[in-house]
């Protein structure tokens, strides 16, 4: 198992390099001189020299990439143009907010998605199934930021139950988590439902009935156990998709997280910060996928055996 995790980590290295090349190129692909893109407007010539030396802008692209990458690997993400502070500081401030939101939203999606999916599958084609799947579909067709605004309007402004924005109290986390989590809930519920229905038709389920096991125990201990394997697969593939929702929702709730930082920097053309945010988000996605794969392997003895 440890060997498997190690091999998967090794596999991530080329992926990380490829992603880093794309993110590095942003600064060169945007219109205009890279130096101007890295400087505050109205900077003097000596600052131009500092930046040129810092990023090696007078050297070939490969060397520039190497300078940038080695900096990144040592935790040096450059200096924010607008804030005039190390980007690493900004990221360090924002990351905990995003992590909390992302993890809570993931837990929310997984729990409610599985519960709703199981209820729908056990009541297949009956009213409960159609109501749940219809509601879940409706939830996933609403843009996250809009749903967030609606929730603010209803629960914060009209009912006064939660703070409108910010991240100072735990109650401020409730609405963002619900907003981000609903999209994922829809996905998890759909996959769980289909996987439950498919697993219930497997041969061994009939033998469980033949052994005289209670249907509830069969469904929860055996059928669900199997259905969870594809659910974890989809979750690990789409973990980034769920976390991506957090980017837009943070802005709506004015949570000082990575998403807010990214959108603000995009609008301010603060490219070192944009690069750093994208890199961190990409790494989060890669790690999430890896964790999903490991959990999947841990759940299925057949996969475990194949991994040695």
């Amino acid at each position: 198992m440890l060997g498997y995790i190690f091999r998967r980590l090794l596999l991530l290295v080329p992926v990380f390099l490829a992603v880093s090349v794309v993110i590095f190129s942003i600064i060169h692909l945007i219109p205009g001189d890279p130096i101007d893109n890295l400087l505050k407007i109205g900077s003097g010539p000596e600052q131009r020299e500092i930046i040129t030396a810092r990023y090696g802008l007078d050297k070939p692209l490969v060397v520039q990439y190497w300078i940038w990458l080695s900096g990144v690997l040592q935790g040096d993400l450059g200096t924010a143009i607008v804030a005039r502070r190390p980007v690493a500081d900004l990221i360090a401030q924002a990351l905990p907010h995003s992590l909390t939101l992302g993890l809570c939203a993931l837990a929310f999606s997984t729990t409610f998605g599985i519960v709703l999916g199981v209820i729908a599958a056990l009541n297949r084609d009956k009213f409960a199934d159609q109501a749940i799947m219809g509601g879940v579909l409706l939830g996933s067709t609403m843009p996250g930021f809009w749903l967030g605004l609606l929730l603010i309007l209803v629960f914060s402004v009209w009912l006064g139950m939660f703070p409108v924005s910010g991240a100072r109290t735990w109650s401020a986390l409730v609405l963002p988590v619900v907003t981000v989590g609903l999209g994922g809930t829809a996905l998890v519920a759909r996959v769980t439902r289909v996987a439950m229905i498919e697993a219930a038709q497997r041969d061994f389920v009939m033998l469980l009935h033949a052994k005289g096991m209670r249907p509830l125990r069969i469904n929860l201990r055996h059928v669900l156990r199997h259905a969870l394997i594809p659910v974890v697969t989809i979750l690990s593939l789409r973990i980034g998709w769920i976390l991506g929702g957090a980017v837009t929702v943070e802005v709506v709730f004015a949570r000082p997280g990575l998403g807010t930082l990214l959108i603000k920097s995009l609008n301010q053309h603060d490219y070192p910060v944009v690069q750093a945010c994208l890199l961190i988000l990409a790494m989060a996605v890669m790690l999430g996928t890896l964790i999903g794969d490991v959990i999947q392997a841990a759940m299925d003895p057949r996969i475990r055996a194949a991994l040695g």
């Binding site: 843009p143 930021f145 605004l149």
Partner: protein, 287 residues
């Protein structure tokens, strides 16, 4: 797998329309497309005529959906917004489908190093959320309608490349293709007469569902001020300008969002009905 001809496809649309869900969803989609095309003839006001004294008017007989912060008629702007949102997302998905089918077909058909390169690139982008990919591209190209189209197009490229490749690989080895090849059919003939027509059905269904996602993505980019620029109305941009007025005039933000949600919901319902009518693998959506 073998839903090949256009007959069966149009038959499937008819069958999808024969279900109650299909009728409602199809009806709404027809209405939205109709409004988007003929907006200039249907709208009661001009979308950019300001009338400041009448700003923030709640829904009334004169302004069915109220007015925005510049006193512009919201119904008019939502109808024009349908134009921008639908055209941006459908052109974007068009780009995605065309490029994805070319890439996927070439990769699946010729195999070799090209196939491996495409597969690696596709797998790489696959696990990244579309919103991130789109944000990177908008960062590069700058905000605006063109940038949004290309950004959304690239964001969904991996999906269609992957799907087309899988279809081509599956059909490539079927008997009728082998038979055709043994009768002396060339690469081009096999690709365009056998493989692509057979791969088309799942791609069409996927494209339809992706258009729904693209409308949301367009609205999101627009909401962050990265999509269509003022005064051009798009559903996302309308909601963006409405945020500041959330407490004062909530209808400015609620109504365009309803338009997005109902349209995307209709696309999904119709897509589901189509999937059932076509009997494409139900797992398509989860893939």
């Amino acid at each position: 797998m073998k839903v090949g001809t256009f007959d069966t496809r149009s038959g499937a649309i008819a069958r999808a329309l024969a279900t109650p869900k299909g009728v409602i969803a199809g009806g709404w989609l027809f209405l939205v497309v109709f409004v988007a095309i003929f907006a200039p003839y249907l709208t009661p006001y001009d979308y950019d005529i300001q009338n400041l004294p009448n700003a923030f008017a709640p829904p009334s007989a004169a302004h069915w959906l109220g007015t925005d912060e510049f006193g512009r008629d919201l119904l008019t702007r939502i109808m024009y917004g349908a134009r921008t949102s639908l055209s941006v997302s459908s052109v974007a998905i068009g780009i995605s489908v065309f490029c994805g089918m070319c890439l996927g077909a070439a990769a699946g058909f010729f195999g070799g190093w090209f196939d491996r390169a495409v597969t690696v690139a596709v797998d790489l982008t696959w696990s990244f959320p579309e919103i991130l990919v789109a944000l990177i591209l908008v960062a590069i190209m700058g905000p605006g309608v063109t940038g949004t189209m290309i950004a959304i197009g690239v964001a969904y490229l991996a999906q269609f490349t992957r799907l087309t490749r899988a279809q081509i690989m599956a059909i490539k080895s079927e008997t009728f293709v082998e038979a055709s090849r043994s009768l002396g059919a060339g690469h081009g003939y096999i690709l365009f007469r056998h493989l692509l027509p057979n791969a088309l059905t799942p791609v069409i269904v996927a494209a339809m569902l992706a258009t729904g996602d693209a409308i949301i993505l367009e609205a999101t980019l627009g909401f962050f001020g990265l999509g269509a620029q003022p005064p051009t109305p798009s559903w996302g941009a309308l909601m963006s300008s409405g945020t500041a007025q959330l407490f004062k005039a909530p209808w400015i933000i609620i109504l365009p969002g309803v338009a997005v949600a109902v349209t995307v919901f209709a696309i999904n319902l119709f897509g589901d009905a189509l999937v059932r009518a076509l009997d494409v693998r139900a797992g398509l959506r989860e893939a």
